[in-house]
């Protein structure tokens, strides 16, 4: 059932959650985007979504994680796979597009044929609570990528920032746990109306001036836009590493005397080494196929494969790209009304 909590009760709210769960929320950093961390007593996270932040994917797919430890000793070789403990967690303060991004990660790592045990352990028992900030970021384009109404099912609860209070709307049974506590009160009709206004604004303001046709129907392998982007793209990893749904990784082995550490770390299709084969051949040997791969993967291949679009419109790549490659331009130019064939007159 929906509840409201006033701003001055937020510390009670956090304390009661922390008594039962590990709570993960964006913590401010001096002169850098906020970063999701496990809260310690007394921490003051930014839970209203107002601050720029790196996506929460590190809490499911860490930047660096040991998969196997190998120890060589007198008794032979010992192998150990340190699967993380599946402790109950609540993730607070993440933007809705960030948590929709986790839907994409789920389809990669929780595939029925092969479930990634490291990811699964972190993902299980984590309650996802999205925040709808009062002020939308200028770079958001969520409604251009998908029908956001369905995204409510991707999270367990949504907190709407109504200024002096939050409106808490559970969207799953799991989400009900965050509406327990005497510091929460029942939502009034006015609160519900204010929440609906925020949602409606989110739905409409994050649209782009383009046709309703989805990009997966329009994006083509041959498109002059790939060359235009590739010409200026400097091949860094900002777009992928700041993306809430990019999941590509590298696996490397490191030796240290009598032990070996096999770890997984971030990697991106934008790097030359990503597709470099052991014998020296590189099927994507320049930036054009790399740029094309990232966007077709997000908007076409993942939709074909999983039924979800790999981009959720969080806008981080739009804000952070060093050379102002704006993914929204790709959408608008590819799906512009002028580009479409004029319907035959009936």
């Amino acid at each position: 059932m929906s509840k409201v909590i006033s701003q001055d009760k937020i510390s009670d709210f956090l304390n009661s959650l922390m008594a039962k769960y590990t709570v993960v929320a964006p913590m401010p950093r001096h002169d850098a985007p906020a970063e999701f961390r496990e809260l310690k007593s007394g921490d003051q996270p930014i839970i209203d979504g107002s601050s720029p932040m790196m996506p929460p994917k590190d809490f499911f797919l860490p930047r660096y994680e040991v998969l196997v430890n190998v120890q060589m000793g007198k008794d032979g070789v010992k192998l150990d796979s340190p699967i993380p403990e599946a402790k109950p967690r609540v993730l607070l303060g993440a933007w809705l597009p960030d948590l929709q991004g986790i839907q994409v990660l789920d389809r990669v790592f929780l595939d029925k044929k092969f479930t990634d045990p490291y990811y699964a352990a972190r993902r299980e028992n984590t309650i996802l609570v999205a925040v709808m900030p009062a002020k939308l970021r200028w770079s958001w384009f969520c409604s251009a990528t998908d029908d956001v109404e369905g995204w409510k099912n991707s999270v367990d609860a949504i907190m709407y920032d109504l200024g002096d209070k939050f409106y808490i709307e559970p969207t799953s049974d799991k989400g009900n746990v965050i509406t327990e506590g005497s510091f929460l009160t029942d939502a009034s009709d006015a609160d519900s109306a204010a929440k609906d206004a925020i949602w409606d604004n989110f739905k409409t303001a994050t649209k782009l001036p383009m046709s309703d046709e989805r990009l997966y129907e329009k994006l083509a392998w041959e498109n002059p836009i790939w060359g235009e982007i590739a010409e200026k793209c400097i091949a860094c990893g900002i777009c992928s590493y700041s993306c809430p749904s990019c999941s590509c990784f590298d696996i490397q082995d490191e030796t240290c005397g009598s032990c070996v550490e096999r770890y997984r770390c971030r990697d991106t299709c934008q790097f030359e080494e990503f597709t470099l084969m052991g014998h020296g051949y590189n099927p994507r040997d320049n930036q054009l196929p790399r740029v094309r791969q990232r966007l077709l993967h997000k908007f076409k291949y993942q939709h074909e494969q999983f039924g979800v679009v790999g981009c959720t419109g969080c806008g981080r790549c739009v804000e952070l790209c060093p050379v102002n490659v704006d993914i929204r331009d790709v959408l608008m130019r590819t799906c512009s009304v002028e580009n479409q064939e004029t319907p035959a007159e009936s």
Partner: protein
């Protein structure tokens, strides 16, 4: 449209029409009014797309080693960008005769994405312009003037070389430096170690600092090598420290101080503080400043009898 912008367009158009160059690299309008984007003009009529405004941050010299290897091209460049070009010429990555440099006097540029503040929303911004007392942010809700010291990039605040050192055409005048606060390092070594340890722990290893740097042109970077592995790809504080420290050493006596690495860093690591320290040492010990057109070779590519030599002279 500013007078200088018109002159840049005319010069680019002339150079393309006359066949002097086959391509001009410059800044074009960004996807939003507070950003610009690198553009590559190969038709005279497209010279109209070139812009010159406070958001022309990119150091376009980063594109030269590849684009000017086999043909003569034009480049629109600020004084710092020109020092990068000089460094590239000295290091034989580009030939002077392959370049037509459209140089600009400069007073600094702003990373407008950082301007998001309580006074206005970035989505309401319609333009940026310099006015007498600072940067005027034009928005749908009115004008907002920000003092230069509060909006210029750190490297622009401390920049001392605001006139193009070499050029084929030059427009605009240098603007006197402005007062402003820049990043300050802790004094004591232990505090500095702690400071950098915290900074490098933020690094996500996206390598944007390296990729945007005109002087980081190595075909194979030490950080990408697997055998031998100089630094691991995993983003741990130790490995990131290794990456940044090694990169700083590789740029010692070479970094011209455009500050692009710092601008693009998604987690705001003050990378230039490492380079500023290196530049200080190069100047104090060898009287060398990277990007100086009077030098024929890079610092590490030349030897003079008078060079500082701690080993030979006993310290």
């Amino acid at each position: 449209m500013s007078d200088i912008e018109t002159k840049i367009r005319e010069e680019a158009k002339r150079a393309l029409e006359s066949g002097d160059v086959s391509l001009v690299i410059g800044w074009g309008a960004g996807s939003v009014p507070f950003k610009t984007t690198p553009i590559f003009i190969d038709k005279p009529e497209d010279a109209e797309k070139l812009v010159w405004n406070p958001a022309c941050v990119n150091n376009l010299a980063v594109y030269l080693p590849k684009m000017a290897s086999d043909k003569k091209i034009g480049i629109v460049a600020k004084p710092c960008d020109i020092r990068s070009i000089i460094a590239l010429i000295q290091e034989k990555q580009v030939k002077r005769e392959n370049l037509h440099i459209i140089g600009l006097g400069c007073g600094g540029v702003v990373d407008a994405g950082d301007l998001d503040n309580a006074d206005f929303h970035l989505q309401d911004v319609t333009g940026l312009e310099w006015v007498a007392d600072g940067l005027n942010v034009i928005t749908t809700s009115g004008d907002h003037v920000i003092e230069c010291g509060a909006c210029l990039r750190d490297m622009c605040i401390i920049c001392e070389k605001r006139e193009p050192a070499i050029f084929d055409a030059k427009f605009g005048e240098a603007v006197e430096p402005q007062e402003g606060e820049v990043c300050a390092l802790p004094e004591l070594p232990d505090d500095r170690r702690k400071f950098w340890s915290e900074q490098f722990s933020k690094c996500i290893r996206c390598y944007a600092c390296r990729q945007i740097c005109p002087n980081c042109y190595c075909e194979s970077c030490f950080a990408d090598r697997i055998e031998p592995k100089w630094t691991a790809k995993k983003a741990t504080p130790e490995e990131s420290w290794m990456f940044h420290a090694t990169r700083a050493m590789h740029l010692a006596g070479r970094c011209i101080g455009c500050g692009e690495c710092e601008r693009v860093c998604p987690v705001n690591i003050p990378i230039m503080q490492l380079e500023i320290e290196m530049a200080k040492i190069a100047k104090e010990r060898y009287g060398y400043e990277p990007g100086d057109p009077d030098e024929e070779a890079p610092l590490l590519g030349q030897f003079k009898d008078a060079d500082h030599d701690p080993g030979h002279h006993g310290g």
